[in-house]
């Protein structure tokens, strides 16, 4: 048997093989030799510190995928931005588009609506904003705003209220032709999302 041959090969072989086991009688009784005895303490700890640091790094690296998986998945992100053909919206008309799960108003404003909005630029309002800041330069007839009232999220309807804009039936907020809050409990103007004209007929939202 391999083992027997080895054991008979002599104490030096056995001793080399079992260098890590100081196999003498007093150790066998279990007296724990002082681990610091004869060792440089900083070298003793380095391996443990390095191991624990590696473990912490590994734990962080494995934790990230488990956290990121709850972020929107690729198919949801694909619908994060949409392209919309504005030729379908006639003057004075409004289209409601579903974007990121919520309604979006795309309105082709008449000249009268634009004029009314600009005229009220300096009027006192809860969330002062110039009409020009809410549209793209040279395309002021296109107003694109989120279709949720900034109060508690209901969808306002166009043509109600005394400012010629939107009226929210839930608690009576009134918006003007620029989507700015003029009356009622809503705190801020209708949200203008990030958008850009990719051509004269197409707008990319989001």
């Amino acid at each position: 048997m391999r083992r027997q041959a080895f054991l008979q090969a002599g104490p030096s072989l056995a001793a080399r093989r079992h260098r890590r086991v100081t196999w003498v009688a007093d150790t066998a009784v279990g007296a724990k030799t002082d681990p610091a005895h004869g060792e440089d303490p900083s070298r003793r700890d380095f391996i443990y510190i390095a191991t624990m640091a590696a473990a912490a790094g590994g734990a962080a690296a494995i934790a990230w995928p488990f956290i990121d998986q709850m972020n929107p998945s690729a198919d949801t992100r694909a619908l994060a931005s949409i392209e919309f053909d504005i030729t379908k919206v006639g003057e004075g008309q409004q289209v409601v588009v579903k974007w990121r799960g919520k309604p979006l108003f795309v309105r082709n404003r008449t000249k009268a609506e634009i004029a009314k909005a600009v005229a009220d630029d300096s009027a006192s309002m809860k969330d002062p904003e110039k009409d020009a800041d809410r549209v793209k330069p040279g395309k002021s007839q296109w107003l694109i705003v989120g279709g949720n009232c900034t109060h508690l999220g209901c969808v306002p309807t166009f043509g109600g209220g005394e400012y010629g804009g939107w009226f929210c039936p839930c608690h009576g907020s009134v918006y003007d032709t620029s989507g700015r809050i003029r009356k009622g409990p809503a705190p801020t103007n209708l949200v203008v999302p990030e958008y850009a004209f990719v051509s004269d007929t197409k707008v990319k939202i989001g």
Binding site: R2, A28, P35, Y48, T51, A61
Partner: protein, 284 residues
């Protein structure tokens, strides 16, 4: 201990040899041809040019009957995909992807009238199926259902090797083999031809019947990069493309794996060193 392990290994080896011997028994298909693929091995990568050619074969030949409904157009622009371009990290912006999508029509509901209409697809859409449903697919294909290609390369044991073998495995049926149209004889198709064979029963021809007629012809698909369009080339390229379609994350998986294994080897080394240090003066 070692002797026991070697006995075990010998037994296992014998059994595996027995396993391999099965393949050529009568009535079984030929084992799939073994090709070298760029995506094989721990450092495998998809060859973008090959996948673009493969996509063209899919588009011009296969998509007439085969759906790929789990793949979205935007996937074509993802990292590792046929039309990936670094300038467009968001594949939804990739102009090639948008152009490819526009060529397809997908069903949708008209917002105003509520009618079912067809509109050009966008990057976010999935590849449309050529048939409305399974029954329509079978009706158009003599009762056979062309399988969806989204996972075909993983749904067959030999994967892309198998797809390549089938596409190039059509052969003239040997005399004595009764082939019933519309079936075709293919040496790599699973099946037992014993009951169709009137020759020597110890030498039944390998393979089986496939409902699909040989789909590829030389020169049928012109490759934009000038690669000669042989049947073998088309078959190889479309098989590679289908491997991507089945496992788009292959490259990311292998690259992450390499980094993870390096880390784990180092970590195991550190732990072993800690273990030796902790146990240094203790008998085991």
């Amino acid at each position: 201990m070692l002797r026991k392990l070697s006995v075990l290994a010998a037994v296992a080896g014998l059994l595996t040899a027995g396993l391999a011997g099965q393949a050529l028994a009568s009535g079984h298909p030929l084992p799939a041809k073994n090709l070298a693929w760029s995506f094989e091995g721990p450092f495998g990568k998809f060859d973008q040019a090959q996948m673009q050619r493969g996509y063209k074969v899919y588009r011009e030949v296969c998509s007439a009957c085969h759906a790929m409904s789990l793949v979205s157009f935007r996937n074509l622009g993802d990292k590792g995909a046929p039309f990936y371009n670094e300038k467009y990290p968001n594949s939804n912006d990739n102009p090639w992807v948008k152009a490819i999508a526009k060529d397809y029509e997908v069903a949708d509901i008209d917002n105003e009238t509520g009618d079912v209409i067809k509109r050009p697809a966008t990057a976010a859409d999935r590849f449309p199926s050529p048939f409305a449903n399974e029954a329509a697919a079978r009706a158009s294909n003599g009762g056979a259902l062309p399988p969806d290609m989204s996972l075909l390369a993983k749904a067959r044991t030999a994967g892309p090797d198998y797809i390549y073998s089938i596409l190039t495995g059509y052969a003239t049926p040997p005399a004595g083999l009764r082939v019933e149209p519309p079936s075709h004889y293919n040496q790599y198709m699973a099946g037992d031809l014993t009951s169709y064979w009137s020759g020597d029963h110890k030498h039944v021809p390998p393979g089986g019947f496939i409902a699909m007629a040989p789909p590829l012809k030389a020169g049928q698909v012109t490759f934009d990069d000038g690669t000669p369009s042989t049947v073998e080339q088309q078959a190889k390229d479309v098989s590679a493309f289908l491997m991507w379609a089945a496992e788009p994350k292959l490259e990311e998986r292998k690259q992450t794996g390499f980094a993870v294994l390096i880390y784990l080897l180092l970590f195991a080394g550190l732990l072993y060193a800690s273990y030796r240090k902790v146990w240094k003066n203790e008998s085991h």
